[in-house]
């Protein structure tokens, strides 16, 4: 049963009406991998929010050492190959606590590249290994400016260490970004969930 007041739907089908004020952070979509080649968000990235948060956890690769990453499509485009400029910095420590470091990784950044933005140094495929983190995409519908993104994530590396990874960059287009895809550099995403939130 819906609740309608003065022509406005307050409640229907288990959720508040679209015009009803809700929290500043709203879950828009959730996808769970199961032997998936990729996880793609092909709807819901609109001008409704000025910031989108993609939160992922327990992302587990089918291929040992595969690198998790993302790319975008601008409106009307396909192929997930937008032009990006990005940086990559990480800190790590192994399980024996005898190999640790921090620094910029030039092999993982991009300068006007069209490849997937790499988010880790290679996730292990042991049964308990996985990666988790957050990507924030700012104002994807803006048609005047580039589209900034930032990432922080942590993963259980193929070489049995933990890494804390920071990535930032921009999609060098003034076209609206409407689609985003996550995948590993090789092999399927065996398991894990990615959620897309809109931030008011």
């Amino acid at each position: 049963m819906a609740v309608v007041s003065n022509g406005t739907t307050i409640i229907d089908a288990g959720s508040l009406g679209a015009s009803i004020a809700s929290g500043p952070m709203n879950l828009l979509s959730s996808q769970t991998a199961s032997g998936s080649a990729n996880i793609s968000f092909t709807s819901g990235i609109t001008s409704a929010y000025k910031e989108y948060l993609f939160s992922f956890h327990n992302i587990h690769p089918a291929t040992d050492g595969a690198k998790f990453g993302f790319q975008f499509n601008a409106s009307g485009e396909s192929g997930f190959n937008e032009t990006l400029t990005s940086m990559y910095w990480r800190t790590y420590n192994n399980e024996a606590a005898n190999s640790a470091g921090t620094g910029y990784v030039t092999s993982e950044d991009q300068a006007q590249g069209t490849a997937f933005t790499i988010l880790d140094g290679g996730v292990g495929a042991d049964a308990d290994q996985c990666t988790a983190g957050h990507v924030k995409l700012f104002d994807p519908s803006n048609t005047s400016h580039v589209k900034h993104f930032i990432f922080r994530g942590t993963h259980y590396d193929v070489n049995n260490f933990v890494a804390d990874v920071f990535v930032g960059g921009y999609v060098n287009t003034t076209a609206a970004i409407t689609e985003m895809q996550f995948k590993f550099s090789s092999g399927n995403i065996d398991a894990g969930t990615i959620k897309m939130y809109g931030i008011k």
């Binding site: 049963m1 229907d12 288990g14 929290g23 709203n26 879950l27 399980e95 988790a132 922080r152 942590t154």
Partner: protein, 210 residues
């Protein structure tokens, strides 16, 4: 009386599910507290598979002694015992009030970069939080899917504090709890390097992210 629409509780017991993805669970305010613990099922704490991500916020945590590390451990048995093996890494940015020593540091050592250690994990290592009246530490910790019985438990911390030698420090710490058992409790405390110290004031809030 509650209102349920299509199986979803819209409001019940005096609270409204207003559609936001971030749900407040519990606030604990320190008052000369030796530890601050969040145990699933105790004192209205939810820390299980209800949410796949939890956010702890640390607000104005003030130690009873100078130069304290603020630190945590987790439990897989409801807080009966703590100290589950963790591996972690630690980056620190700092700058002193006198304008010196601005830099990025990589922290290692027993409290900072754990290697499958059951010890406490610090988030405000040397120099620690000062105990002048206005000194404190604040920040966030994100803990992913503590109830998983398949994967390790990833976590990330972003914590900033006012040090005992008058610097601003930002601490970026991440790691995993190296167990496939569900984690269902976490505890926080202060330690000045020689002994445990109370947390005189401040609060920690726990949120679930839907």
């Amino acid at each position: 009386m509650g209102l349920i629409s299509a199986g979803t509780t819209i409001f019940d017991a005096g609270s409204v599910n207003a559609g936001g993805a971030m749900t407040f669970i519990k606030k604990i305010t320190a008052s000369s507290s030796s530890t601050i613990s969040f145990v699933h099922g105790s004192s209205s704490v939810v820390f299980d598979g209800t949410y796949k991500e939890y956010l702890f916020t640390f607000n104005n945590l003030h130690p009873a002694a100078n130069a304290c590390d603020f630190m945590f451990q987790v439990s897989t048995n409801g807080g009966s015992s703590y100290g589950v093996s963790m591996t972690s890494c630690y980056t620190q940015l700092y700058h002193r009030e006198d304008g010196n020593s601005g830099q990025v540091a990589h922290r290692t050592g027993a409290l900072n970069a754990l290697g499958n250690s059951t010890g406490f994990q610090s988030m405000s290592t040397a120099d620690g939080i000062g105990d002048d009246n206005d000194q404190c530490g604040s920040g966030h910790m994100r803990f992913f899917n503590p109830a998983s019985t398949t994967f390790v438990k990833n976590w990330m911390i972003d914590f900033t504090h006012y040090t005992n030698d008058n610097a601003s420090m930002r601490n970026l710490v991440a790691g995993y709890v190296n167990t496939t058992s569900a984690v269902n409790a976490i505890r926080f405390k202060m330690n000045n390097g020689s002994s445990d110290q109370n947390t005189d004031s401040g609060d920690i809030c726990l949120y679930g992210i839907s």
